[in-house]
């Protein structure tokens, strides 16, 4: 990411143009909505020579495409790759990243008949890259054979790709399920495999990334069998730790190239908060209406605009609003297009081409366009809502940008807590480096799955390592389950099954629930829900949202892992009433946190869903309850927690109930900022308040979201008759809701001070009076007195936990 170290002065000094004029215009008109204005200065290009050793054909192919010199980062990538060093290129969108890998790969294919494997996270991107390769190939009549290999490849073509492909363009799922388990059929590829190219590595984080790291461990194992040792070339959008992330993925040292040599016009970023329309309830105008208005204004000012919408439905809505204005005359070619997953590839290709050719004035898209699809240069990028991470923001904002002229990105906040935090803290945007992408390749269940797949591919010999890891305990478990056969220090696959089929790279285990829409006799699979969250989201009666469309769960087949839903028009949503019992099993580390302590360690969580509440939209009033009858969920995982002692709490709160309410509010804010800090999605991090003495046998629980007073006092303060009184020392837990954890607790523990400080700022700076869903979570009614407002109470907890 380019350095961004200042707020712009009131007037910008760039040359007068439609863009600067327009920026001034909206600044003047909407001063109160713009919470921040950042300017990234224009940058000149840095160039380097095309390597002299390049085969003549490749030279002329470049010339035919108008390339007479390379950007510096392209040349650096070439030098690293051709000298056999693994390399990651992390430069902004549209900086010519593909040439960073296409050049060394084409060179190796042409000169040494070497082969390469390209991995992209989606089929659409693979298709794009194939087109790019074929264009280069054609420009120089090079005769390089490149082909995609994915689920759509016909079987007769597959054989040809296996035997004759120089460059195989595929995705991680296909490598995992289709190629590695059949590696003997791919022997020619693996024997001569010189380069493995992995683009968009920032998208391989969390569970997906942890799986990919293990798929790559398997790939390296297979390559070793065939005597090859490929060089990895990785590309990433802006993230905070490209090198570390790349090294974690491939399990080897990687050189990082992070400065782009491509020229870049001046770039402006505006943070935009829609106006408050109801101060009491903290309700603002919708991001959608603001984005639609801004897009309209931009297009009228003859600027090319791209709108990022948070859902497919929203794409359609905004597109309609814009088309109503600009495409009213059906005889004229459309000026506005929608672009999203679910459209046919041909339709999407047509939109991309029209945009590249400058025929369109506006595109409305989901994150489908965030990944490297080439649509040429744009003037304005409009983000309808904060995409969940700073890095994700930059990936979208980076879509606007021209080589010579200024460009503009506007982040329009929704009423979600994260959005509000970001636009109300513009310094967060300037000072925070982009998030770190994190993976946990040694997550025990993910590891077990891949050791199983690896054993299918090649027997393990005793003492053999998987990556850097000692696999012997895993092999013993699989042998005892009858999946492997242990004999004379070797573990052979013996089960009658194909393990890769059962391992989904996007979940921790294979217990996923399938959500099936049976509205009007249909049977359409809508979504998959992991086992851990099924009890909270798929109970009978639950309103389940897909693309902001409500469905109601009619039947839950727990054993068959299926939930049957129908479309509904209900004016409410549902929220599970669940009780969480949490017991600390081990503390890995601890430190002082203000007047309390902060730890991370291993915990045992038991969740019981007792029923659910029906909550009306907008008013958030509770309009009824329903029963839930499901087995308890138990979970061993890792957690980070903050704790205050009984003495401290009694000195600051009237009674334990008040203290627990305050903990609830504080936990809402800490969860919000922790999610932000970890580039995680909300569901990747769970929170709960555990009462009682940490480490004791008893771990009380309180209801999620509900007032602690309703139920918490019994669990937390009182003790069961006849037992010894417990010490009241509630703890605020953030834990990974996956068995075995996903490795978030340690980095959260490392940043505990920062998280408490940020949570404090979030609550304190919130524009509400007593507390609201954006800061401390839903608040019921007026507080009895201002000093006991949920906001003040939560701040008291955060003050106690903040370092003095």
């Amino acid at each position: 990411m380019p350095a961004m170290d200042r707020f712009a002065p009131a007037e910008t000094s760039s040359p007068a143009s439609a863009m600067t004029h327009w920026i001034k215009q909206i600044q003047a008109r909407y001063e109160d909505r713009i919470t921040g204005h950042l300017v990234l200065p224009a940058r000149l290009g840095e160039y380097a020579e095309i390597p002299g050793s390049l085969p003549a054909g490749l030279h002329s192919a470049l010339a035919a495409r108008g390339i007479r010199q390379l950007y510096l980062h392209q040349r650096q990538a070439w030098d690293a790759a051709t000298e056999g060093r693994h390399v990651v290129i992390a430069t902004p969108t549209a900086s010519g990243k593909t040439l960073c890998y296409n050049l060394p790969v084409m060179d190796a294919v042409l000169r040494e008949q070497a082969k390469a494997l390209y991995l992209f996270p989606t089929k659409a991107l693979a298709q794009d890259q194939l087109a790019e390769l074929l264009a280069l190939n054609q420009a120089g009549s090079l005769g390089v054979r490149a082909a995609t290999f994915d689920g759509d490849t016909p079987s007769d073509v597959r054989t040809a790709v296996r035997l004759a492909g120089d460059i195989v363009v595929s995705n991680p799922d296909m490598l995992h399920q289709g190629m590695l388990p059949h590696h003997t059929k791919w022997a020619r590829l693996f024997e001569s495999l010189r380069y493995v190219v992995i683009d968009e590595v920032h998208s391989y984080r969390g569970i997906f990334g942890s799986h990919l790291a293990n798929v790559l461990r398997r790939l390296k194992r297979i390559c070793a069998f065939y005597g090859s040792d490929p060089v990895f070339i990785l590309c990433s959008a802006t993230i905070g730790n490209p090198r570390q992330h790349a090294e974690a993925l491939i399990g080897a040292p990687v050189e990082a190239i992070t400065t782009s040599g491509a020229p870049q016009g001046e770039r402006h970023v505006l943070l935009w908060n829609p106006p408050v329309v109801n101060r009491e309830l903290g309700i603002r105008a919708s991001a959608r209406s603001q984005v639609t208005r801004l897009a309209r204004m931009a297009i009228r000012a003859r600027l090319k605009a791209l709108v990022f919408a948070p859902s497919r439905l929203m794409v359609e809505v905004i597109t309609k609003y814009l088309k109503d204005v600009f495409d009213a005359d059906p005889r004229k070619p459309a000026r506005i297009h929608a672009y999203r997953g679910g459209y046919l590839p041909l339709t999407r290709r047509a939109t991309e081409q029209a945009m590249r050719a400058g025929c369109l004035d506006g595109i409305v898209s989901t994150s489908a366009l965030e990944l490297g699809v080439d649509i040429g240069a744009l003037d304005v990028a409009l983000l309808c809502g904060y995409p969940g991470s700073i890095a994700g923001c930059w990936q979208r904002l980076g879509r606007a940008g021209r080589r010579q002229q200024p460009s503009l990105g506007i982040l329009v906040a929704s009423s979600q807590p994260l959005d509000q935090y970001v636009v109300q803290h513009p310094d967060f945007f300037t000072s925070a480096s982009p998030e770190h992408a994190r993976i946990a390749p040694d997550q025990p269940l993910i590891l077990l799955d891949h050791i199983r797949c690896a054993a299918f591919e090649l027997p393990f010999v005793a003492g053999e390592r998987f990556g850097e890891l000692d696999a012997s305990d895993y092999l013993a478990v699989l042998a005892e389950a009858g999946i492997l056969h242990a004999e004379e220090g070797r573990y052979d696959w013996i089960a009658d099954s194909y393990p890769a089929q059962a391992v989904n790279l996007r979940s921790v285990a294979d217990g996923n629930f399938v959500v099936i829409d049976r509205t009007e006799g249909k049977r359409i699979v809508l979504a998959e829900v992991d086992y851990a969250s099924a009890a909270l989201t798929l109970y009978e009666g639950a309103i389940y949202m897909v693309q902001s469309q409500p469905f109601q769960v009619e039947e839950l087949d727990w054993v068959g892992r299926k939930a049957y839903v129908t479309r509904t028009r209900a004016d409410y949503y549902t929220d599970a009433i669940d009780y969480t019992k949490l017991k600390v099993l081990a503390r890995f580390a601890g430190s002082k946190a203000g007047h309390g302590t902060c730890y991370h360690g291993e915990v045992h969580v038991v969740r019981h869903v007792a029923g659910y509440k029906k909550i009306r939209y907008y008013s958030h009033e509770n309009i009824g309850y329903g029963p839930v009858n499901l087995p308890d969920q138990d979970l061993h995982t890792t957690s980070v927690w903050w704790q205050l002692s009984q003495d401290v709490l009694l000195a600051h709160f009237a009674d334990p109930g008040a203290a627990l309410d305050a903990f609830q509010g504080a936990s809402h804010a800490v969860h919000t900022v922790a999610t932000l800090a970890m580039m995680a999605e909300g569901r990747d991090l769970a929170r709960t308040i555990a009462s009682g003495q940490a480490g004791s046998e008893q771990g009380g629980g309180v209801e999620r979201e509900a007032s602690a007073r309703e139920i918490g006092v019994r669990d937390a303060w009182g003790s069961a008759p006849g037992s010894a009184p417990e010490i009241f020392a509630p703890a605020l837990h953030l834990y990974d809701p996956y068995p075995g954890g996903m490795g978030l607790s340690e980095p959260l523990f490392q940043r505990q001070r920062e998280l408490v400080a940020r949570a404090r700022a979030l609550v304190e700076d919130c524009t509400c009076t007593h507390g609201c869903p954006s800061c401390v979570g839903p608040v019921m009614g007026e507080p009895p007195e201002p000093s006991r407002s949920p906001k003040i109470q939560a701040l008291r907890i955060l003050d106690l936990l903040a370092a003095p």
Partner: protein
Amino acid sequence: MNALQARLVQLANQAGRVASLATPSDPRSGSFDDSARARLRVLLAQRHHAACKDLPGVAIAPGVQLVETVDTVPLSGAELASGRLAIDPIGFSQLVFLDTETTGLAGGTGTKAFVVGLATLAPPQVRIRQWLLTRMAGEGALLHFVAEALPPDPVLVTYNGKSYDLPLLRTRYRMNRLREPFGDARHLDLLHPVRRRYRGIWPNCRLTTVETQLLGTPRVGDLPGSEAPAAWRRFLATGETDGVRRVLTHNARDLSSLAQVLCALNALD
């Protein structure tokens, strides 16, 4: 089980794994200390050794049992030497009937052939040789013996071998870093002529259906092919040989059927 293993099993269950990992019925998963484990291993090896003595045939290498049989089938050399399949230029000695029994039907590099059966013709006799894997470690040797047993310039005769048996064996040779012996040998996959002629006429084109419909000799008491993998796993784990014997019988039957089907197809106008 040690602590990590116990934890893995527990986590897998918490994640809602459909197939549980725990199999406490296996004596090895009990709470044995190391010396008990070692003693058990010796006992298992002894039992395995004893079990192999119960098998037909002879152990020709560690982990490889060779079973040789001769079957008399109702076919004559004259029938083969003329007819529509035009196999007369091929000497009978070059015809090699091939059928494998595998550890699973899933395919992929984790599936092994634990029986490779080859049959050659000396009408009216069929000479059948079957190599049975009695230990995992014997696979390389088994593949080596099979390669040795092929005549020069063989003509392979299989049923669905083009898409199943041959690719699987090729994978096994490669996995064992051995040169695969089939090269570009001629290959008659009888499934294809049967399909061309009887698809839509018979309920299906399985070999057992061909036997019933074309040869008029329905099988009785045969072990279904789908039960073969479990029979072999049982043999490895417990030394029980009944299942494996039945697999061998099934495989031999497949081979002699192949010879008769070839003859019958040849005789059709």
